[in-house]
């Protein structure tokens, strides 16, 4: 059994930033476990630009953004164990991993979970029909095209208008593929406006809102899909059904935090985010185990993943240095009125930094609403929001000064309310 200070599970943007954060706080004995042959995670296949506007004030491609953090970890001498797959984590922070050398057992003083997320597959959708070749998640297609140099097909329909689907609509079009339509169940797209314009409108690709795929046709290879409009309850309207011949269907229908390992460590998960329940330190219910990035909750921007992960790494380091108090007094942070969840979902004001960013998502599109923060019953903060959409993560900042005004705060509430 090898003993180390800090183990970081995953060498993508979250893991790399967490390592930097821990190093800054003075911890040196850090190991990042990465199952791929290179660090950088999903950024390596996100060759489009638009990354880093918040973090670096410039527009980078995915690989360029990753390179900044890879270089930083190299300069700091942080060890990355590549081609190494973590199999399980115990609540006592024992890690079992496997690589070409065999099975490794590592005991860590603290762990940062940074495994990212996975795409929802066809099986999560219950689309009727046969099971031919030619149905991929958008991210799988992205890997084929951008890393392996293969096109998955020639005539494509994309189900779901998340950003990966939109990005792939443009990418495949540029490579000479005919993208026939992007089909979206909801009456709005969860993708960024910029992607709708620059990935679909620029190339005349139709976006069919309130539509879904109702049948998959083809035995060995996909031959086509049936699509139909859906009613207000998202049920297909049979009269509107139409057939689109195609050899490939890409699915861009949501992301799920990948928490298999967290479960083995006994980490409590949120049914809403699919990620760990964390306090203001980004520490999970398992002592000394922290979480950040897409394994904690799915982000839209890598910039915020980096910001959150620097914090998780730094807090894990402080835990190792025994700087975190032993007894906590948790105040719940409650999502109300259109706010689906908050991360973190509890706070101990005595242990918080001078400022704490609380991130959240709303459940539908709100125009002309206010974002409000209550400490107990007292409205502490509010701001106008011209538009809030489920596709864009929002945040509010809690400060120590807010809590200093009241003796005891029973709870914090984050809500969206109609502006007067």
């Amino acid at each position: 059994m090898q003993n180390i200070d800090l183990a970081i599970i995953g060498g993508g943007p979250a893991g790399l930033a967490a390592a930097v954060g821990a190093h800054t706080q003075g911890i040196r004995d850090i190991v990042i476990f990465e199952r791929d042959s290179t660090p950088g995670g999903i950024l390596n296949q996100c060759i489009h630009n638009g990354f880093g506007l918040h973090a670096f004030k410039e527009e980078l491609t995915g690989p360029e953004y990753a390179e900044r953090f890879i270089q930083q970890t190299k300069d700091l001498g942080i060890r990355i164990r590549l081609n190494t797959m973590v199999l399980s984590i115990s609540p006592q922070r024992e890690i079992t991993a496997v690589n070409e050398q065999g099975v490794l057992h590592v005991q860590a003083k603290a762990i940062v979970l940074a495994m990212g997320c996975r795409e929802r597959p066809r099986g999560a959708l219950n689309i009727p029909g046969s099971r031919p070749a030619g149905i991929y998640t958008a991210g799988t297609a992205q890997r084929f095209v951008n890393l392996n140099g293969y096109l998955p097909g020639k005539e494509v329909v994309i189900l779901g208008s998340g950003d990966i689907g939109l990005i792939m609509a443009r990418r495949m079009t540029l490579e000479g593929v005919h993208v026939k339509a992007v089909v979206e169940l909801m009456p709005y797209s969860n993708g960024l406006k910029r992607n709708i314009v620059q990935c679909l409108d620029d190339f005349g690709i139709p976006l069919l809102l309130s539509h879904t795929v109702t049948e998959i046709v083809g035995r060995r290879r996909l031959e086509g899909v049936k699509i139909a409009q859906v009613d207000a309850d998202r049920r297909p309207v049979p009269e509107t059904e139409q057939y689109i011949p195609c050899d490939t269907l890409l699915l861009s229908v949501g992301l799920l935090p990948e928490n298999e390992l967290s479960k083995s460590a006994g980490v409590q998960l949120s049914p809403i985010t699919g990620g760990a329940v964390v306090n203001e330190q980004l520490e999970t219910s398992a002592e000394g185990i922290f979480a950040c990035g897409n394994v904690l909750h799915v982000h839209d921007l890598v910039d915020y993943v980096s910001e959150e992960s620097l914090l998780a790494g730094r807090n894990a380091a402080r835990y190792i240095q025994n700087a975190l108090a032993e007894t906590r007094r948790n105040i719940p942070i409650l999502p109300r009125g259109g706010v689906r969840y908050t991360v973190p979902s509890m706070i101990d004001p005595r242990l918080m930094d001078p400022e704490l960013v609380v991130r959240f998502r709303v459940d539908q599109v709100y125009r002309g609403y206010r974002v409000c923060v209550y400490l107990g019953d007292h409205l502490e903060y509010s701001r106008k929001a011209r538009v809030l959409t489920p596709g864009e993560m929002e945040s509010v900042t809690l400060t120590q000064a807010m809590f200093a005004k009241q003796e005891t705060v029973p709870s914090v509430t984050v809500s969206v309310e109609r502006a007067e």
Partner: protein, 128 residues
């Protein structure tokens, strides 16, 4: 009468901006919610540009495609020309991010540059 509808990309509001000409041929831009929207509409109408990101074939490395981008945005109408210019390009590792792969691509004044550092493969000779 000519009319164009644009979706503003500056924020999640996504204002629908319509551009039309009146009887005297004067341009009328409507529907933008802020100054940035007006500016966006003007640029989109006169000289729309885009960054082009793609990949080129890569030899002597563990990955088969090298990600690249234009060093500056190119005219929207030249996007497909840039893609055609990259079709036959093949690069051999090692490559550094920022290395120029194609100079002045399609006369745009913009170069195609690598966006990833790739080391030469130690085992490249036994790869298919």
């Amino acid at each position: 009468m000519n009319m164009a509808v644009l979706t503003c990309i500056n924020c999640p509001l996504g204002c629908q901006i319509t551009v039309s000409a009146d009887a005297l041929g004067r341009q009328k831009i409507e529907g933008y919610g802020c100054k940035r929207g007006l500016e966006y509409a003007k640029v989109e109408l006169t000289n729309p540009t885009r960054m082009v990101t793609s990949t080129v074939r890569l030899q002597n490395a563990d990955i088969r495609q090298l990600p690249v981008k234009t060093s500056a945005p190119v005219p929207k109408a030249k996007i497909m020309d840039c893609m055609c210019a990259l079709k036959a390009v093949e690069v051999s590792a090692p490559v550094r991010a920022g290395d120029i792969i194609v100079r002045n691509v399609c006369g745009t004044g913009s170069d195609i540059v690598a966006t990833r550092c790739v080391a030469a493969s130690e085992s490249a000779h036994c790869k298919p």
